[in-house]
């Protein structure tokens, strides 16, 4: 039997368990699409390649496998880039398949030619330009292996169209076995380093666990919870770690960082031992890196050795998979429990900063209260995606996330336009739990055409759109740092979002008062299909209720 390069690629995708591919066709990846149509794999046509990449990311995070997306050469491939970079920054497993101009045309500035390998070098875990169809099975197998093992990440395979069309006798295929001698996966963590962590914990008066996204990537949520159950150590998290303990767990003190909870930042500063697990310790999480270093109180556990010492020099470095590290650490902590006076202290910090907001009706809905109600009414048994901006921070601080796998957000790259397509991917990956996309009216308009994808494939997504006619976070930034000189942040006279939903035959609702919240949520959640709920929000609603404690007032706009 003769096969084409595309057939070999699709066969290899099937062998790697791929069930669905998100993408957009063009001349260069057309042979691939043709082969997919004869296979067990389904495809979802996005409205822009960027949407396809984000869908693959949302799918990957829910299905816990590599998400697959495809685009044609040139502009198709460059449109894909933002999605690939987003996946890279959050360590999401992804395999991106791009078409390329025919091999003899490479380098000739052919129609729709771009060096996509070169363009994506900085933000792919690895990439391949396939020169011969005999390499295809091995390359595809390696791509999935690299994307899903160690610290996960995106891998891009660039297929010149002539290689996809090339007739290949399966006899000539030079083996499908992975051959990666340069790929170094970390083994078992160094036992003596873990012993040092245990000893430091026993000596510490005020230890805290700083949970990052690595706990979710390494599927160690259960082990992490066991560690907290056994030791009672207070937990704070980065954005990617939100949900390691349910947000309402009394041992969880919130997200740290510039938009985090004030209590979490205070606890980070007061602690005398910070055990960071699966976190890059990025600039938005830990502003005062030098302070942590000087206090000599940082334990850094990560699967990627390059993360250790990149942003901060830890007192005790541990390289290893979080899941294994916790398993190694647990027996060493037999009988250990955190000191009661530290627990009293952190509880006091929480009490100090706990306050209730008035929920007065003033022509706007309080988005924080809305999210608390949404969380309560759904019992948080949902997949929640967010966009980037105020809506994202409101979700982190006011939605009770039960598990990090249920909270899909662009943490590292901060990509507006992520949430809507990611929700489509998440919904395509499972049908057990509803998927809610929380968005701002700015970010919604970034990938808004994907409403068409949602509708075409009957993928139900509950969309909550906080409308304030502003790019809210930048608006607030200009208030705080540019003397209220509001420029390039006004998006008034935008579309009537309810009419827009109607144009896509998507049912919708619109609320302006807190008293309407509960009924609106019921209407949205009881709908069997996609639903858009437009929630009118005060443009001067602050992002935080901790760091920017002074509520902005409309008068100050003048």
């Amino acid at each position: 039997m003769v096969m084409t390069g595309a057939d070999l690629a699709v066969k290899a995708l099937e062998d790697n368990g791929v069930e669905v591919i998100f993408g957009y066709p063009g001349a260069a990846n057309a042979p691939l699409i043709e082969s997919i149509s004869h296979s067990s794999i389904n495809y979802i046509l996005s409205r822009n390649e960027q949407g396809a990449a984000h869908m693959a990311s949302g799918y990957a995070r829910v299905k816990k496998c590599a998400g697959v997306c495809t685009a044609t050469s040139g502009p198709g491939a460059t449109n894909l880039i933002t999605g690939v970079a987003t996946a890279y920054m959050d360590s999401i497993p992804m395999v991106a398949l791009t078409g390329q101009v025919a091999t003899p045309l490479i380098g000739k500035d052919a129609f729709q030619e771009v060096d996509i390998i070169g363009a994506t070098l900085p933000f792919t875990k690895h990439s391949y330009l396939v020169k011969d169809c005999a390499e295809i099975p091995r390359v595809v197998n390696e791509a999935f292996h690299i994307a899903t093992t160690g610290r996960p990440g995106p891998v891009l395979i660039d297929f010149p169209v002539d290689v996809l069309k090339q007739i290949c006798d399966p006899e000539d295929v030079d083996g499908a076995d992975i051959n990666l001698r340069g790929y170094k996966l970390p083994g078992k963590a160094n036992e003596s380093q873990i012993k040092k962590v245990a000893d430091a914990l026993k000596r510490a008066k005020k230890p805290v666990l700083l949970a990052g996204g690595g706990i979710c990537s390494s599927d160690a949520v259960k082990e992490f919870n066991e560690l907290v159950d056994a030791t009672n150590i207070p937990v704070i998290s980065t954005m990617m770690g939100v949900g390691v303990l349910p947000s309402d767990d009394e041992r969880y003190y919130g997200m740290i960082g510039s938009h985090g909870a004030k209590r979490a930042n205070i606890i980070l500063n007061r602690a005398d031992l910070v055990i960071a697990m699966g976190s890059r310790l990025g600039d938005r999480s830990v502003a005062n890196a030098k302070g942590l270093e000087r206090a000599n109180k940082l334990v850094h556990i990560d699967i990627d050795p390059a993360e250790i010492g990149k942003n901060m020099q830890p007192a005790i470095p541990v390289v290893g998979d979080i899941k294994d590290v916790i398993k190694q650490l647990m027996p060493m902590l037999e009988g250990y429990s955190v000191r009661a006076d530290w627990i009293d202290e952190v509880k006091e910090i929480r009490g100090m900063l706990e306050y209730t907001r008035p929920h007065n009706d003033n022509g706007f809905v309080d988005p924080k209260y809305f999210l608390e109600r949404l969380s309560a009414k759904t019992n948080s048994d949902v997949y929640l995606t967010t966009e980037v901006g105020q809506n994202q921070i409101w979700c982190v601080n006011h939605f009770n996330v039960k598990s990090p796998g249920n909270f899909l957000t662009s943490g590292g790259f901060g990509t507006m336009g992520y949430g809507l397509p990611a929700a489509i991917g998440a919904s395509r990956a499972q049908s057990e739990l509803p998927v809610i996309a929380v968005m701002g009216d700015g970010s919604f308009q970034m990938d808004l055409p994907e409403l068409g994808t949602m509708k075409q494939y009957h993928i139900p997504v509950k969309m909550v759109l906080f409308q304030n006619n502003r790019l809210g976070m930048v608006h607030e930034h200009q208030y705080l740092h540019f003397k209220s000189n509001y420029q390039m942040v006004n998006i008034e006279d935008g579309p009537d979002f309810n009419k827009l939903a109607e144009a896509y035959s998507i049912r919708s609702g619109y609320i302006t008062e807190n008293s309407q919240i509960d009924k609106a949520i019921d209407d949205m959640m009881s709908d069997k299909e996609s639903y858009l709920l437009v929630v009118e929000v005060d443009p001067f609603e602050p992002t935080g209720d901790a760091l920017n404690e002074n509520k902005m007032t409309a008068q100050e706009e003048d």
């Binding site: 070098l121 900085p122 690299i146 340069g182 390059a306 010492g309």
Partner: protein, 166 residues
């Protein structure tokens, strides 16, 4: 800032060098010199990189390089435990009067005269970075037409080698 020498074994295939060099640009590391060539195993190349920085930076460089799939092995070589050489070709302005004098200077440096013309002379010097610098300084006075200089290449002293893990 100190100078460190990294010896890196990589797969000998297309695009490896751009991955290595791109990483330096992207992460803000400075390459002081670089040289590449194949090894006994034709599938493996050795890249020798000199970088300037502190010990933490060099550790980061090494860890980041390790993440490149085609990078097989890396070692930071200690100054006292390696031999390191570079090569320079210098085209020096000459005239019949000073030609002999220049050749004498070249002999002191054990340089080879590899080309000669009525008005120029091309010398080849192999040695440590300091030796090459010193030679260039010595002949500067005669007028240098052109210089072509390689990056440094290095091996560990003694029986130590950068072996592949089987």
């Amino acid at each position: 800032m100190e100078k460190y020498t990294l010896s890196v074994l990589v797969e000998n295939n297309a695009g490896v060098l751009s991955r290595v060099v791109g990483l330096f640009t992207r992460r803000g590391f400075n390459i002081h010199s670089l040289s590449v060539g194949t090894t006994v195993d034709e599938h493996i190349s050795r890249i020798t990189i000199e970088v300037k920085g502190d010990v933490y930076m060099v550790e980061q460089v090494s860890k980041q390089l390790s993440k490149i799939m085609q990078v097989i092995k890396i070692k930071t070589l200690k100054e006292s435990e390696m031999v390191k050489r570079g090569l320079v070709l210098v085209k020096i302005k000459t005239n019949p009067k000073n030609r002999g004098e220049i050749i004498e200077v070249a002999n002191v440096f054990r340089a080879n005269i590899i080309d000669i013309s009525p008005s120029t002379l091309t010398a080849e010097v192999t040695g440590s970075g300091n030796k090459i610098d010193a030679f260039i300084k010595m002949v500067e006075g005669y007028g240098i037409e052109e210089i072509s200089r390689t990056g440094m290449t290095a091996l560990e002293r003694g029986a130590n080698t950068l072996k592949l893990d089987k």
